[in-house]
């Protein structure tokens, strides 16, 4: 039950997207996030949507998985787009309760925001599906390296992220087990008011914490046994080095960004 989380799970593969340098992928994700908000009319937005769908198809990840990650944020999408229906000018289409009105501008707004959120989620899903957690943390470690000057413990942060990601499924499984064990002892977790349900979580959280500390102790020992002593003098099996394809990806994205900016300026904005 709790194990059904698609968001942030790696799907091993050999596609061109998989093989891109994770640093490039992270950078491109940021660029995408910025440009999806620069795209202010349907022409420029169209380029962004085409880009994300092109990447989806090239990623070699089953489309089903993308739908799964979209389902997780379905509520947010519906909520924001419905809210947006009532904002914006233009001619009034429907009038509700005398004071709320859906306008043409509102509809455009809603469509826009939906496309934006969906593209955003899809693009970041591509990042997490095609990049292993270790690659991801590696890349972040490298991208954050300049922060070392400010005495930020970059390696330690990356190690913490790696371990956290590694233990998510383990702890979820454990939570399931503890819940079943408490249910078998007669714990009631489904009924009662909000406060009662929160209270019902305590007998689950306490054993979970206790066992997490025990795991942490074991893991620390296992890491020491394997000669872990921080980032000093450490090497990596997978060295990140940019290949021609990374340069190509950057150039291609740069070109598309220019196109987006051009369209955004040339065509009239769709948003009021």
């Amino acid at each position: 039950m709790v194990r059904d989380i698609a968001l942030g799970q790696y799907f091993p593969g050999k596609s061109i997207i998989h093989r891109l340098d994770p640093r490039v992928k992270i950078a491109l994700t940021f660029v995408y996030i910025v440009f999806i908000f620069i795209a202010s009319n349907f022409q420029s937005l169209g380029i962004m949507v085409a880009l994300v769908f092109g990447i989806l198809l090239f990623s070699g990840v089953p489309l089903k998985l993308y739908f799964k990650s979209l389902k997780a944020i379905l509520f947010v999408v519906i909520f924001t787009s419905v809210l947006n229906l009532f904002y914006g000018g233009g001619t009034t289409l429907v009038r509700l309760f005398g004071f709320m009105e859906i306008t043409t501008g509102g509809v455009i707004n809603a469509v826009f925001i939906t496309i934006r959120i969906v593209s955003l989620i899809l693009f970041s899903s591509v990042l997490t599906f095609t990049t292993s957690p270790t690659e991801l943390t590696d890349a972040l470690e490298r991208l954050m390296k300049p922060l070392k000057v400010l005495h930020v413990k970059v390696h330690e942060i990356a190690m913490m992220m790696t371990i956290a990601l590694r233990f998510v499924p383990t702890l979820l499984e454990e939570t399931d087990k503890i819940m079943s064990a408490q249910k078998a002892r007669g714990a009631d977790m489904e009924s009662g008011g909000f406060m009662q349900r929160v209270k019902a979580l305590i007998p689950i959280l306490i054993p979970l914490f206790v066992s997490s500390f025990r795991r942490a102790y074991d893991l620390a020992m296992a890491m020491e046994c394997r000669c872990y002593h921080g980032g000093e003098g450490r090497t990596k099996m997978k060295v990140l080095h940019a290949a021609p394809r990374d340069a190509a990806a950057l150039a291609f994205t740069g070109f598309l960004c220019a196109a987006v900016v051009f369209c955004a300026v040339w065509f009239p904005p769709a948003l009021s």
């Binding site: 296992a222 046994c225 000669c227 002593h229 450490r234 990596k236 997978k238």
Partner: protein
């Protein structure tokens, strides 16, 4: 030549509630030769796990000395050298895997040692093949069975190219099939790669597979010898609430009942053969 040598090792834990010192090792001396397969037996609290952590300097003796390949474990300048040579595999496979991808976890040890990337790749592939898990190199550990996870943990040690692997009850949390997988792997590593194995276990049937059995009781060594020698002393082991292999036990009891049977029987096969001989014997 002795690879690991412990001399009169004493060690005390501080008890949490009372802050009193409790001595768990009372002057243990033990030598392990290169290439040996030693099973270390004893029930809970016998000091066997404490002893295991002495071998790779996870714990340091209060009194006495531990040498690994001639290096004193107290000497901090050789700490990582010792830990590289003597790998420790723990009981719970879930708690010793660091990365979310099998091959990246196996690479963790060599990465810490500062091995060049291309060589790490080679070592990881070799280590995964050695434990027969190469096909799973891109999997996530949580999707594997207990026995498979434990073999990954062993591969993570092998990738550091150790001389010796100490396994602290590696099969305690596994099902019979996983236990078999892990035992096969350990035996193969010992035989084919000449890696010294120290297996801590409370399964007597696993101890029988070792070349030498050391029994610890109450912080001291009770007996030390080949499985045949050690399990011949059924009374001694029973006095200390220790088991013997089931086959040994059966033959021992039959003999106690006056049935003529050979002296020390270790494996089910030997047991069957002995009984067959007895029953086929012309009156």
């Amino acid at each position: 030549m002795d690879y690991i040598r412990a001399q009169d090792v004493t060690f005390s834990y501080e008890e949490m509630e009372t802050a009193k010192q409790r001595e768990v090792l009372h002057g243990v001396s033990l030598s392990i030769r290169r290439g040996e397969f030693v099973a270390l037996l004893g029930h809970n609290g016998s000091g066997k796990s404490t002893m295991a952590k002495m071998f790779n300097a996870m714990l340091l003796p209060d009194g006495g000395k531990v040498f690994v390949d001639g290096m004193d474990t107290v000497d901090e300048s050789v700490l990582y050298e010792i830990r590289r040579r003597v790998g420790l595999v723990l009981q719970n496979p879930d708690n010793q895997l660091v990365a979310s991808i099998v091959e990246e976890d196996v690479a963790f040890g060599p990465e810490n040692l500062g091995v060049p990337p291309a060589e790490i790749r080679q070592r990881v592939d070799d280590a995964l093949k050695a434990v027969d898990m190469y096909d799973f190199r891109l999997n996530a550990p949580y999707k594997l069975s207990g026995g498979q996870k434990q073999r990954i943990a062993i591969a993570g040690i092998i990738a550091m190219q150790p001389d010796c692997i100490v396994l602290d009850e590696p099969t305690a949390m596994l099902d019979p099939r996983g236990r078999g997988e892990v035992m096969d792997t350990i035996r193969r590593l010992n035989r084919e790669k000449g890696i010294t194995i120290v297996l801590i276990t409370h399964y007597m049937d696993e101890a029988v597979q070792a070349g030498r059995v050391v029994v610890m009781d109450n912080g001291e060594i009770l007996t030390d010898g080949t499985p045949r020698e050690v399990f011949a002393h059924v009374e001694l082991l029973k006095q200390h609430q220790l088991d013997v292999p089931q086959s040994t036990e059966l033959i021992y009891r039959l003999k106690a009942g006056g049935i003529p049977l050979p002296d020390c029987v270790l494996t089910p096969e030997e047991c069957v053969a002995a009984l067959e001989r007895l029953l086929r014997r012309p009156e």
